[in-house]
Structures are given as C-alpha cells and as structure tokens.
Symmetry: C2
Subunit: 341 residues, 2 copies
Amino acid sequence: MTARPLKRPPVLADVARAAGVSVPTVSRVLSGVTRVSDDKRVQVMRAIEELGYHPNAAARALVTGQRSIIGVLTGDTTRYGYASTIQGIEEAARSAGLVVAITVVGAADEDAVRAAVGLALGQPLAGVIVLEFDIQGSRALAALPDTVAVAAVSSTAGNGRIPRALFDDHQGGWDATNYLLGLGHRTVHHVAVPGSGRPSGRMLGWREALKAAGAPVPRPLETDWTARSGYDAALRLAKRDDVTAVLCGNDEVAFGVIKGLQDAGLRVPDDISVAGFDDHPLAQLWTPALTTMAQDFAELGRSAVGFLLGRLTGDQFEAPSANLHLVVRDSTAPPRPAAAS
Amino acid sequence: MTARPLKRPPVLADVARAAGVSVPTVSRVLSGVTRVSDDKRVQVMRAIEELGYHPNAAARALVTGQRSIIGVLTGDTTRYGYASTIQGIEEAARSAGLVVAITVVGAADEDAVRAAVGLALGQPLAGVIVLEFDIQGSRALAALPDTVAVAAVSSTAGNGRIPRALFDDHQGGWDATNYLLGLGHRTVHHVAVPGSGRPSGRMLGWREALKAAGAPVPRPLETDWTARSGYDAALRLAKRDDVTAVLCGNDEVAFGVIKGLQDAGLRVPDDISVAGFDDHPLAQLWTPALTTMAQDFAELGRSAVGFLLGRLTGDQFEAPSANLHLVVRDSTAPPRPAAAS
DNA sequence: CTGAAAGCGCTTACAG
DNA sequence: CTGAAAGCGCTTACAG
C-alpha cells in the first residue's frame, strides 16, 4: 500500500480556510438551505473543487440523524433471483441518493445470524432490507431490533408489522401446476429449492393444485438451489416410470433437471415436461427453451426501497406483486399417449 | 411505515445509565482494551443486552478514523464475473469485520461517474475497490481522489500506483486461441465483450496468437455481454463458410453463440467449435458442455480486499493470479476434414 | 480501575 | 447574510 500515499482527506475547516470564510458558511453552501452571498459561494465552490472535498457522511449522519445507507441482509448474492433483487434495490437507492451496504448471512445458526446483523447495524443505516428467500433471511428478519426501519422481500405475508414486497409464490405454484395438469398429465412431480424454514409457497401451491384436481401428490425431491443438484434429482426421477411432468423450484434447478433427464436418455418435453420458476435470462436459450413462471425481482427490490423510504404504503403494502406470469416455451407438452393412459 | 413504530435507538449514555457506570466505562467494556472490574463489566453487558444496544459506527468512525465500510464501484452486479467477484469481496470483508457498500456506475459519461463516485465517497469508507471490467470501472478508477485507499480488480496492469488483483486476460486469450489452433483450425473467430475503453486483454491475446501462428485475423464481432447478443452474432457467423472455431469473450455470450449456430442448422462442435471465458456454473450443463477459460473471480475479490487492508503486498501486487486455466469440455473439436482443408 | 474533559467533522439554532 | 457556540455519539488521553 506504499505505492499510493494517502493525503489526509480535506475537511470542512480546510475548505473554510481556503475560501476565507467560516465553517458554517461552507456548510450552508453545501446544503443550499440558507442564502449565501454570491462571492462567498463562488469562493467556497472553488475551494471545494481544488481540494477535492467530499463531506464526511459519518459526521453528517451523527448530527442530522440522516442516514444515507440502506443495509441489505441476504443469504446469497450471486444466484439469479438474489442478484436481480439487489440490483433493483441498488437502482432505487442510488436514485434516492443512498448507498447499499450488503451483509451476507452466511449460515442460519444463531452465531452467524447475530454476527451478520451486528455488523450491519454497526453502520449508520437509514434502514435495512431483508431478502427473505431462505432460512438465513427469516432468521435475520427475526433478529432485527425494533429500533431500525425494516422492509423485506418475501413470498409470504408476515404479521403486518414489517412492510414486505411480496411475490406470490403460492399462486405461482398453483398456476404452474394447473397448467401442467391442463396439458393432460396425471400428476406433477416437484423438485424443490430450500424454503425459508417452512415449505415454500410454490410447494404449497403445487400441492394444493394437485389435491384440488384429485391428482396423486408425489413426494417432492429436494435440492440446494444449484443446477447440479437438479441434475442429481433428475437421475433419480429418470428411474421411475410414473413421471411425465416436473415443476422445479427455480430455473437453475430446472436446467439441471433437463440435462439430467437428457443424459438418462429421456427427451424433454416428449417423454417428460419440465417447468421452472423465475425466468432466468438463459431460460429462453436453453434446449429446449424453458417454460417458467416469470418474476420481476428487480421490481421487488425497488418496491422494498419504496417501503423503506415510506414512499409506498396502503394497498401495495404486503399486496402480491402483479408481475408473476407463466411464460410457456418448449420444455412442456402434453404427455405421450402411452404415458398418459 | 406506521406499522412498525421505531424506538429511538439506545446510545452509550443509555447503557451507562442503566448499568450505573460512566460512559467511558461502557466504551471500555466494548473495546476490551482497558481492564474493567468484573461486576461493572457484567452490569454493562446486561444493560447492553436488555437495551439491544448497537454501537453507532458513524460516531466511532468519527473519532477513531477507523472505517468499517469498503466501497465497491462497479458497472454491474448481476453478471457472473461481477457477482462472483463481489461475493469474494463480501466474504473477505465480513471476516475482517467490514461491510461492503455497493454503488453501481450506471453509465460511462462524466455525470454518472461523478455522481456514483460522490455517492460512494460520501460514506465513511475504509477504502474502495473498483471492478475494472468495463469503461465505467476505468472511469470511476480515474475519478477517485488520492485521499482514499483504492484497490482494483483488473485485467491489465496500471501505472503501479494502485494495487490491482489481476486476472491475466491476455494470457487467457492467447492460450485458448492456441488450443483451438492446435486442434487444426485454420483460424479462430472472436465474439467480443465490451472492453474497458481499449481492446480487452483477451482480444489482444487472441489476435497475437493468430499472428504468431500466421493465421488470418478475422474482424471480431461485438456484443453487449448478453447471451442474446451472442445469439445474434452467431446468426451472422452462420452465414459465412470460413468459420470453424469461435472464441467468445465470456460464457454467457458463448451460450448464445452455440444456440444461435444450432438454430441456424449447424452442429457444435462438429461444424463449428465454440469456446468461452469464465467457467460459468452452467457451462458444464450446457449442450454441448462448454470448453472455457476458468477464472476464480471470488479469489480475485478476496485478493482485492487483502490489498486494501494492506495484508497483501510485494510479489502478489499486480501479479497475475495463477487461477486461470483452460477447461476442455465438449464444445470444441478438430475441424471436419472438409472444412479443415 | 474509573470518571471528567476534550475532540472527531459536521449542522443547527442563536445572535448579530 | 454570516460567525461563535453547542452538540450529535463515541473514544482517548488525563487525572485520580
């Protein structure tokens, strides 16, 4: 680090000295609230420019109580849904002049949750947004004290104390399953992603749709979110002869399932139909192109910021987002006559 | 936001009062530097627990000069390489007790860069890490004053003033091209991703390898990083008859290229070989499984944090990371006898 | 070991 | 319009 010696960052007093005015005057120029004479304003601006001054947000936050950081607590940052939601949060935050501080909750045990929450709360936060996509998210949400403003992105409504940008997982599972049933499949198997403690909404929707149709409810297979684990699940599925349609917990898993089935010598959708969840950018380029429940994660992230900043309330509060819809592509089809019998 | 009334967060003085001690004593318990009598320590701990006290990092940063935020300036957060790098940064930061604040540089124009940099510098930063993967990154790096500690993740060495975790793009392009040439292809076409202002290192490596082998250097096709634009490029490539091998700027683009070629009626690798860059998690599940230059982005991110915290210096400083290596899978093969002639 | 005092860099009343 | 003063929540010498 010797390569780049750091100067002491200039502070307000340096600017004041360089401009020949008092400290409060510089502050006024910066905030623009009170009028400042033109000549002083000009001198101050020039001094700021020359010194490369940037106000110290810590000091500012200390006195105004104004916080310019939105904390995000999440179990992951790289998977499609997570990354897109974070992208939406960052966009909305930036346009509100806020920065996004991310803390990953690395595990669901008490220590990890407590450490992550403590780390986040150690910052001067305007509020925190929790991605309640998994257990880590749920635990983090529960561990947050009521001294911070909180909003969540969730698939299930809570107790109403915390505003949530909701995606209607349950409805999605129901719709996707009914679509597959409507194609003529006797039942639909489910390859599940980890839920946030309890069964995921999409799994519940899937189960209810089967029951409502009087279809048998096969035991769901579990994955760890990865395409690889979807692949492994598919290998098990391929050994059975009662499988004609599979609904996957997300698209990455669906990609793995398709590949696994293909490697086992089965054709998708001719032998088995596969549907996913999320509408991953690669879904339309997969072979076959993946039928999936599309969700607008970035919009969800933006809504959460809206809730946090108090710009969204009322009927949008905990109301399911209307952005969920089925995108039918080539990975689903009616069962083959033989299998459908 | 009325759903969840906020209490005023407890401050040190509240804890001191509750524990019946002075403010500095609480501070000492927290920091653990100076000895504090056991009974007072216990009372303080209890008060902290009961009140749910979290120290105000802004106030702490103000007096100690210790900053607990690493700012990350990046052009994107969702694409594989970016997201993985950020993941590595977050991991290393968290284990050092730091939080990661992300600011996306939305565009390369001066206003956008200045706004993003200003937003980031407005925080009490321990330092900033710039992802120099694109023009936005380069511009942001250039716009940073020398009052902040900076590290970058880059593919090209700089002037030595800023520590960079390097990935040797240039070598990667060279190696991948030579591998394809070694298979017997007369030349290799290139579908490029946007560089950071100048041609990307991988493109340079590709070009040099062709020249060194005396192979013709076809004009590269440009994309915007997306699989979709790779698909479009493939459609153009498919119309030519001199294409037998294609090196893509990244895997997402390669996925699109493969799909585009297939949709145009060509077989990969029988008619045309395709190789990518990065080793995206879906590369091994693609059909055909993608041959690609693997890069350990998370490690790059961790190194950048190491540089920033001054834990990494000397020979690792601006030294290419050794993690770049070719992973040969099924998307590449020798040219067909006819085409190779 | 522990408390009173000073100060980090800012902003906000308070006087002029 | 503008400066001197006080204070945000902490930590760090300084005295005891």
